[in-house]
C-alpha cells in the first residue's frame, strides 16, 4: 500500500462511486482526502489547482488529474482520473438500459429530490472550504466578495475574471 499510484487509485475509485450530484458535491471529500487524510497538497495548493482547472476548458473532474500529477506525475494524473471516472461509468452503462422503466416514477422523483437537497449542501460546503483557503488577506476577501456579486449579477465569462485575478495577483496588488 506504499505505492502512491495505488493510494491514488484506492482513494479516487471510492470517491467516484459516491460522487452523487457530480464532482462538485464530492469537492469537500476530495479536499479532505487530499489535504487532511493524505497530505498530498496544502489547502492553498488545492485551491490553486482548482482555480487552474476553472481557467482551463473541460469538466471539473480535471482537478483530480492535477492532484494525481502533483503526487506522481503523468502516471499519477492518468491513474487518478481513470480511477474516478471508470467505476461510475460502468455503473452508468448498466443503469442506462434500465432507466426507461423507472424514469419519472414517484419513487425516482423522491430519491432525486432528496439527493438534490444533499448535493446543494455539499456543493456549498465545497465552495466554503475552497473560499476559506483562498481568503488569505483582506484584499483577497474583497476579490472574493466582488466576484461572487459579479457572477451572480451578470453573465460574465468566468475566464475574464480569472484572468483579471491572475494579473492583479502577479502584479502583487492582491
Amino acid at each position: 500500500m506504499n505505492s502512491p499510484l495505488i493510494e491514488l487509485a484506492v482513494v479516487f475509485s471510492q470517491l467516484g462511486l459516491v460522487a452523487i450530484g457530480g464532482v462538485m458535491s464530492a469537492l469537500p471529500d476530495i479536499q479532505r482526502q487530499v489535504v487532511e487524510v493524505h497530505s498530498w497538497m496544502t489547502a492553498s495548493e488545492f485551491a490553486g489547482a482548482f482555480a487552474l482547472t476553472q481557467a482551463a476548458p473541460g469538466p471539473n473532474v480535471m482537478v483530480v488529474a492535477l492532484v494525481g500529477w502533483h503526487v506522481a506525475g503523468l502516471a499519477g494524473a492518468l491513474v487518478a482520473l481513470t480511477s474516478l471516472i471508470a467505476p461510475p461509468a460502468v455503473l452508468a452503462y448498466i443503469v442506462a438500459s434500465l432507466w426507461r422503466r423507472f424514469s419519472g416514477t414517484d419513487w425516482v422523483k423522491d430519491i432525486q429530490s432528496s439527493l438534490n437537497a444533499v448535493s446543494v449542501g455539499l456543493i456549498a460546503a465545497g465552495a466554503a472550504l475552497i473560499t476559506l483557503s483562498a481568503a488569505q488577506s483582506p484584499a483577497l476577501d474583497v476579490v472574493i466578495i466582488a466576484t461572487t456579486a459579479a457572477f451572480l449579477g451578470s453573465r460574465i465569462q468566468p475566464l475574464w475574471l480569472l484572468g483579471a485575478g491572475a494579473l492583479l495577483g502577479a502584479a502583487g496588488l492582491i
Binding site: A19, G48, G126, A134, A150, A164, G165
Partner: protein, 194 residues
C-alpha cells in the same frame, strides 16, 4: 449489448465512433466551468442526436448517478448508439484535450513555482474561483427556496454542516441524509397512509 443500441432522431444517421468522439471532443474544449450547456448544444442542436425532451431525460439520469455528470452523459449516449466502444469514444473524446491542456498549464506553473508573480497569480485566481463557486452555490440553492417546502432546505443545511464544519465523509453524509430526505419525501407524498 445490441439492445442498448438505438437510433437518433428520424432522418439523422446513427452516429459512428468518430462522430461520438468528435462531438464530445468539442464539448470538452468548449466547456469552461460547466460543460452541460455545451453538451446540450452539441447533442440537440448541432448533431440532432436527441430531441430536447430526450436530452432532459438523459441528463436526469446522468445527474442521478454518481460520478461526473457530463462523463455519465458521454457514457450513456455513446453506449446508446455504439455499445461499450461508443461509451469509450465519448469519454476519451471528452477528457483527452482538457487533460493535456491542464497538465501543460500545471507544468508551466510548477516550473516557475518559486516566482512571486506566479504564486501571486495563482492566489488571485483562487480568490476568483472562490467567488465563482460561491455564486454557483447560490444559483443551485435557489430552486430549493422557490419550492417553499422546508425539508429540502433543512437537509441541505445539514449536509453543509456535516461536510464543511464536522468534516464527515461524502459517504457518511449520503447514507444518513439521503434516506432521511427520501423518508420525508414519501411521507409528504402520502400523508394519510402513514
Amino acid at each position: 449489448m445490441k439492445n442498448a443500441v438505438a437510433a437518433p432522431l428520424t432522418g439523422v444517421p446513427t452516429p459512428d465512433l468518430a462522430s461520438i468522439f468528435g462531438g464530445f471532443f468539442w464539448v470538452g474544449i468548449s466547456g469552461f466551468g460547466s460543460a452541460l450547456p455545451f453538451a446540450q448544444r452539441m447533442v440537440v442542436e448541432r448533431k440532432r442526436w436527441l430531441s430536447d425532451a430526450e436530452f432532459v431525460d438523459a441528463m436526469a439520469l446522468s445527474q442521478f448517478l454518481p460520478g461526473p455528470n457530463v462523463v455519465n452523459l458521454a457514457v450513456t449516449l455513446g453506449g446508446r448508439f455504439q455499445g461499450p466502444l461508443g461509451s469509450l469514444a465519448g469519454v476519451v473524446g471528452l477528457v483527452a484535450a482538457p487533460l493535456v491542456i491542464v497538465l501543460v498549464a500545471a507544468g508551466i506553473v510548477a516550473r516557475f513555482a518559486d516566482s512571486p508573480h506566479v504564486i501571486g497569480a495563482l492566489r488571485g485566481m483562487a480568490a476568483v474561483a472562490g467567488g465563482l463557486l460561491l455564486s454557483a452555490s447560490v444559483r443551485i440553492a435557489r430552486p430549493l427556496w422557490r419550492k417553499r417546502e422546508p425539508w429540502p432546505i433543512a437537509i441541505a443545511i445539514a449536509a453543509f454542516g456535516a461536510a464543511a464544519v464536522f468534516r464527515f465523509s461524502l459517504l457518511e453524509c449520503l447514507l444518513v441524509l439521503g434516506p432521511l430526505g427520501l423518508l420525508i419525501a414519501r411521507i409528504r407524498r402520502h400523508p394519510t397512509s402513514s
